[in-house]
Symmetry: C2
């Protein structure tokens, strides 16, 4: 059975959208990646850190999904990472209201012994030095290393970030980040520049406009499922990444053609994530709903033009 | 052989992009629709109006593509419709610098006798009263009527516009126009509202983000081909419409499944249109290039997930 190691935040979010607002609820990249990936037939673990204020019931939610939480360190007397944001009316942009790093400021990730041989490593958005530390602790070079990052690290820790980028197989970032990283507006050109930095595969997430997968020779595009209503976009990108790595860890096939499927699986799970606040929809999602929506993705994109 | 009747402007454009600027060149919705549609095995005619200043060599370009130009009226002493615009750096938005209606102000369209039995009618973006006049002149209800329009007519001639919308099978507009027409932000909800106004099919063009096709029960999505560089977006939407109606007029099959193919054909031709200024690329486009790029569209969207 494929082993997936995830490093990412497990945290509190407080979210405001045009549809309502939440108190502090369960959030964090590691959480969303883990919940999505755990839908696949794999062994997974999250490496993270929380404070003493973090409810054990939240950890239990992850355990219930068969996620190994032994490497989520609880810091005595510490406070959990907290992010709060308010989305604009179109839900395409948001203002950050609060970012309290708290225990994340001194996060020293420890990969559990029994995951040092993981097949797939997902480096969620964090300081690139933390991501490098995780890679250094592995016993073997994993079959596949997937990286997420953000503009903040491009602005503040570019040298470390370039060192991580050199070491990964797949980078999965959004369109604005791809443009900043490459200094190219055209996403086709951006992907080519990023290929030259190291990653064999570049995934560019465009939110409601879908996602692109590039290798040196091919492009694949997965639409986002057109929805009646997007309720809360928080965690959609991480849920996408979780579906992507979960599917690849299960199938153990990292060819471009199988990655097409992985991108569809990621888009499919992300389409559920945005239907409720935070992790709510992902925690109440049946296999039948997932399969039916995969069918919708096929319906959405299929055509039949005969070509000589 | 399928007959296609097009009503739309045949005009002068002057374009500025970050890559350069043009003098007055051949433009107009009717021109772009005609050039795209004429690539299919159909009979087509354009109903339009130009001034005495319009070069006969431009009319000859259309004739060379087997387009019937007998209903492009030349007004003695009149001046041709002229539009000039400047695109912003991202090519996604533009400022209109000049709009001179000239002979278009009194345009009284006359459908040629031998096209009053056309199978497909494409109503390019014009005053809705002109579009209605064309429909009234037909001998029979065409198999398919496709409408393009814009926000200007929603602001200034909503009653006439609603009358046209009621009479057409397909409306093909961009995302901002769909939102304005329906007063819904979600494109899924917008399409549902527009269905209730009359059209059985709603096509929503999203520029570089592709196009959506809706009927009451199904959604199809065609991506735009990711390009290294977009040079000039002028005419892309009309070229899309031209490929869409040209393919449908040739195949004479207006099922949802065949419309999927039509949307891909439209997207395919539009991807060429933006590679040069104005009509330049469309006038120098081989069948082999068209077929190869259709293959790219298939490569771009194809995946293979097994579902029970």
């Amino acid at each position: 059975m494929g082993k997936l190691l995830i490093v990412g935040t497990v945290a509190f979010d407080a979210i405001e959208t045009p549809f309502g607002k939440t108190d502090k609820i369960l959030g964090g990249a590691g959480t969303f990646i883990g919940l999505a990936a755990s839908r696949y037939n794999i062994q997974s673990a999250i490496v993270s850190v929380v404070g003493e204020d973090f409810p054990s019931s939240y950890i239990d939610l992850l355990k219930d999904e068969n996620i190994d939480t032994s490497a989520i360190e609880v810091i005595k007397g510490g406070k959990t990472f907290f992010w709060s944001g308010r989305y604009h009316n179109d839900l395409n942009s948001r203002d950050t209201l609060v970012t309290e790093l708290n225990v994340l400021a001194d996060f020293d990730p420890k990969v559990p012994e029994h995951f040092k041989d993981a097949d797939v490593v997902m480096l969620g958005n964090l300081h690139p030095d933390i991501q490098l530390s995780v890679l250094r602790q592995m016993d073997y070079r994993p079959k596949l290393v997937v990286l997420d990052t953000m503009n903040y690290w491009m602005d503040h820790s570019m040298d470390s970030l370039m060192e991580v980028i050199k070491k990964v197989d797949v980078i999965a970032i959004n369109d604005a980040e791809a443009r900043q990283l490459s200094d190219e507006y055209s996403l086709v050109k951006a992907a080519a520049v990023i290929h030259d930095m190291g990653p064999k595969y570049v995934v560019i997430k465009k939110g409601e406009h879908g996602a692109l997968l590039f290798n040196q020779h091919n492009i694949f595009f997965a639409p986002a499922l057109p929805l009646e209503e997007v309720f809360d976009p928080t965690g959609a990108g991480d849920t996408f990444a979780g579906g992507f790595v979960g599917y690849l860890a299960e199938t153990q096939n990292v060819s471009f053609n199988n990655m097409r499927n992985a991108v569809i699986h990621g888009s499919n799970l992300a389409s559920f994530c945005v239907e409720r606040f935070g992790t709510e929809r992902m925690l109440n999602l049946t296999e039948k709903e997932v399969t039916n929506r995969l069918r919708q993705f096929r319906e959405l994109t299929q055509f039949d033009i005969e070509l000589q």
